[in-house]
Amino acid sequence: MLLKLTGGRIFDPAHDLNDVVRDIYIRDGRIVDKPADGRIDEEIDVRGKVIMAGAIDMHTHIGGGKVNIARTMLPEDHAQAVYERTELLRSGTGHAAPSTLTTGYRYAEMGYTAGFEPAVLPINARQAHMEMHDTPIIDKGGYVMLGSDDFLLRMMAANSDQEAINNYVAWTINHAQAVGLKVVNPGGISAFKFNQRKLDLDEKNEFYGVTPRDILHRLSRAVQEIGVPHPLHVHGCNLGVPGNMQTTLDTIQGAEGVPMHLTHIQFHSYGTEGDFKFSSGAAEIAEAINKHKNITVDVGQILFGQTVTASGDNMRQFAGAPHAHPNKWVCMDIECEAGCGVVPFKYKDQSYVNALQWMIGLETFLMVDDPWRIFLTTDHPNGAPFTSYPHLIKLLMDKSFRNDMLSTLHPEAQKATHLASLDREYSLYEIAIMTRAGAAKLVGLADRGHLGIGAAADITVYTDNSDREKMFEKPDYVFKDGQMVVRNGQVIKITWGTTHVVKPEYDVSIEKPLQQYFDKFHTLKMSNFKISNDEIIDDGRGSLTIQPLHKGGRL
């Protein structure tokens, strides 16, 4: 079966194609060369349409314990967003924390073909994969979380060599079936268990004497040395704290040139100026990002309305709990490994702080020069649900729309921003970089995010529309692995995406201390901790795609 998409305007930044008219040929789920015999089985006329690879959300909380706590906790939020069963689709619910089936359908309907869960606790990875397994159409994967786990902190306190830490990181990525490594409030989640209420970059964990800076240094090196393409994914110290921009600048400086991805940077870009002692640090942060080519960021844009914040950072979530809306929240300590906090939140446009958060996110988007190093996220659902992406794209692409919105916000906040004077409007090509080519490169997906020969045929076709929100919320067609899954913004076929993983090599000698650790301190056996490939394949619907390692990897 050979399918031809004829005459579309191609936006494929991985191949420097910016609005170039080309035909695309698809066979067996892949993009192929024009057939030598010219035989086409089916042709779709897409002349004048905008063609991009399927979009990739490189940071979205779609699976795992804290997301499911959020779901169970918020029946009133679901009741406002119920989805009936159809002949084709399962029923579902959810605005801020949608059910897995609804999540897959909504992503596909917006032209997204992959989403990556950024906070997979090793001990909860099995659950994260179960939930992602029940998320249709899109590909998925997870970044496994270390940095407050006692095994690592014990190694660091004992001054283990980097080789041993590399081994542990590689072992964990393998057996949690992950595609990258995440750290959340490095060492801080552990510190909270010892009743420390904050942990600055150079402050010591009371028990281990280890600082967040040490942890970032060790883990970012490990990721680089074992050849995992995705740089260490960092949720830094002091999330949400006024003045945390200095911590962020120090973190960037402290990376010492090693690749590092700073996630939801908006929440880490706050100054303390002005009457409210809360100001934008976006300009300084953007300048630092522009200067340090080893740094990538995603924004974690906030948008106004009800949502829920779900994070591994229970130290900061506990501090934020008095702001819960509605007034209910959960914090957990988890298995000498991690924690989580779930706090519902309503961002209000007439709140000075919330309005400024909105502005800081947009300032960051507009002041970071290189679209290959900044990514479009709302840190779903923490800043806003992922379904608001088309609206966010419009804010980036349409200055007058942006400034109209700005003029309705808290008046004091408006005085505290230069946003209105920023003229930049993102182009379609830049959107394609941020949400496709750049995201695939960042996550380390060799065969996704581009439209080259041999790529997976994950393709989104839009009708050009100067109202970018309308354009991006309802693509004409979405193809997943060559199959048309969406037509006119409606799901027409259910497929089940693959799970992307990396398999860095490790020396099996690491299992000796791990075995002792599990036997002595844990309530689970090491053998039962490991997630087999069969568990990902599960009932036959799942599959595993092993992505290549970078040079420097020993495989």
């Binding site: 499911n68 706590i69 029946p75 679901h78 059910s99 659950q127 009743n195 301190f521």
Partner: protein, 424 residues
């Protein structure tokens, strides 16, 4: 059972029969006979060792093939005005299949263990909580407050595994751990320390817990209490307990909602949970709800991620519709609001469907005895014995893989319910 050359010994086997899901069991399998060799207890031994008796499905007491049973179920569902899928003692994939079938048939879904589970879920949905997990308890607990629960009667190995372990990761003197029972007295000595230190007991009746817990919370908040006694307890005794919780570095307050069997126990659990939050203003303290055996945690987790809601959800309007009171399976059956019930109980032969006017279909563990024969009975395999599976522990964070230990040929709940869905 006699030893012979065909016996297989399995190590590091996880138990789905208890909410703490101990995974250090050694099990011997000889044909269809299963024997727990090491680390068994009063819950896991019968769980694993209950023999297989019947293997053939029945319709109205007459043996039929699995295909006949499946098409009979499909027929009943097609003609049903309001099906109920209940019991739900099953694993991950059984729960998935049940959710898919409920969605397709407009069924209501509820678990046998919901009356207990909802005492906690209602708190989560109203005010939330701070909780911890088993490995944290094992390494950090310094004061364990047990509220209204005789832990060892339902979690026989809790103290051995979580409290009286040999060593804490943080250099804590294990013997210094303090155990305090508030409410029920322990039924045995599991809570006694290795050196013989007995747990402190502040005894009261369960029905007095609402009042006692309210006073304890008030004392922790520094409120003045005029009364000198509450439910027969000296307020000074509760004051001393409050001081201990304030002085503790990592206290854990535990309860088993299944044992807090009094009206509106959720309000008392909520008071406990709010008290824990308040203790955290100055030191660390966490809740540890104990429960979750036989798929209890699993079915609520799967229902939540697939529909947004835990158990007690109906699909009769073609979308998930949650109501923790109206969709109570027991109430529905008692009030005759369902005409077909699919009762799933693959772990426990004693968990049988209540008498009702509904046509009853049972997917049950082999050996189940009925007061009145159900319309359809299919003996199904036990997850973790007859087929692979996964189950969640009480903390709803850790899930364990369950292994296939023998080849009994019994179908899984997933296989049966998926076949029913296909047959519709």
């Amino acid at each position: 059972m006699t030893e012979n050359s065909t016996a297989t010994v399995w190590h590091e086997v996880a138990s789905p029969f208890c909410g703490i899901a101990s995974d250090d069991l050694t099990i011997e399998v000889n044909g269809n006979n299963v024997k727990v060799l090491e680390n068994g207890d009063a819950v896991t031994r019968p769980g694993f060792e209950t023999p297989i008796s019947d293997i053939q499905p029945r319709i109205n007491g007459k043996e039929v093939t699995l295909e006949q049973a499946v098409s009979h179920i499909a027929e009943l569902l097609i003609n049903s005005k309001q099906p109920l899928i209940a019991g739900l003692g099953t694993d991950l994939n059984g729960a998935r299949a049940a959710m898919a079938l409920a969605d397709k048939t407009g069924a209501t879904i509820d678990s046998y263990y919901s009356p207990a589970a909802f005492r906690n879920i209602l708190v989560l949905q109203d005010t939330g909580y701070m909780t911890t997990t088993l490995t944290e308890v094992r390494n950090r607990v310094d004061v364990l407050l047990v509220v209204g629960t005789d832990i060892e009667s339902t979690f026989p190995r809790f103290f051995e595994r979580m409290v009286w372990n040999k060593e804490s990761m943080f250099g804590q003197e294990i013997e210094s751990r303090e155990i305090i029972y508030l409410g029920k007295k322990p039924s045995g000595d599991a809570s006694t320390s290795p050196n013989g230190k007995k747990a402190q007991v502040i005894a009261c009746d369960n029905v007095d817990l609402p009042e006692v817990v309210s006073v304890l919370r008030a004392l922790l908040k520094g409120k003045q209490i005029q009364a000198e006694t509450v439910a027969g307890l000296a307020v000074s005794e509760l004051q001393a307990l409050a001081e201990k919780l304030k002085a503790a570095k990592y206290s854990v307050v535990t309860w088993s909602a299944g044992q807090l069997d009094f009206d509106h126990a959720e309000a008392t659990i909520q008071n406990v949970c709010e008290m824990i939050k308040e203790i955290n203003a100055t030191t660390r303290s966490n809740g540890l709800p104990l429960g979750g055996k036989e798929g209890d945690t699993t079915v609520n987790a799967v229902a939540s991620w697939q529909s947004g809601y835990p158990m007690r959800t109906t699909f009769n309007r073609r979308f998930p519709d949650y109501d923790p009171f109206l969709n109570d399976g027991r109430r529905i059956l008692a009030d005759g609001e369902s005409d077909v019930v699919i009762w799933v109980s693959s772990f426990n032969t004693a968990v049988t469907p209540p008498e009702s006017s509904a046509s009853t279909i049972v997917l049950g563990r082999s050996g189940m005895q009925f007061k009145s024969e159900p319309e359809v009975y299919i003996p199904v395999g036990v997850p973790g014995i007859d087929h692979e599976g996964r189950t969640f522990r009480t903390d709803s964070v850790v899930s364990v893989p369950l292994r296939k230990l023998r080849d009994s040929g019994l179908p899984s709940v997933f296989e049966v319910l998926s076949a029913v869905e296909q047959a519709l």
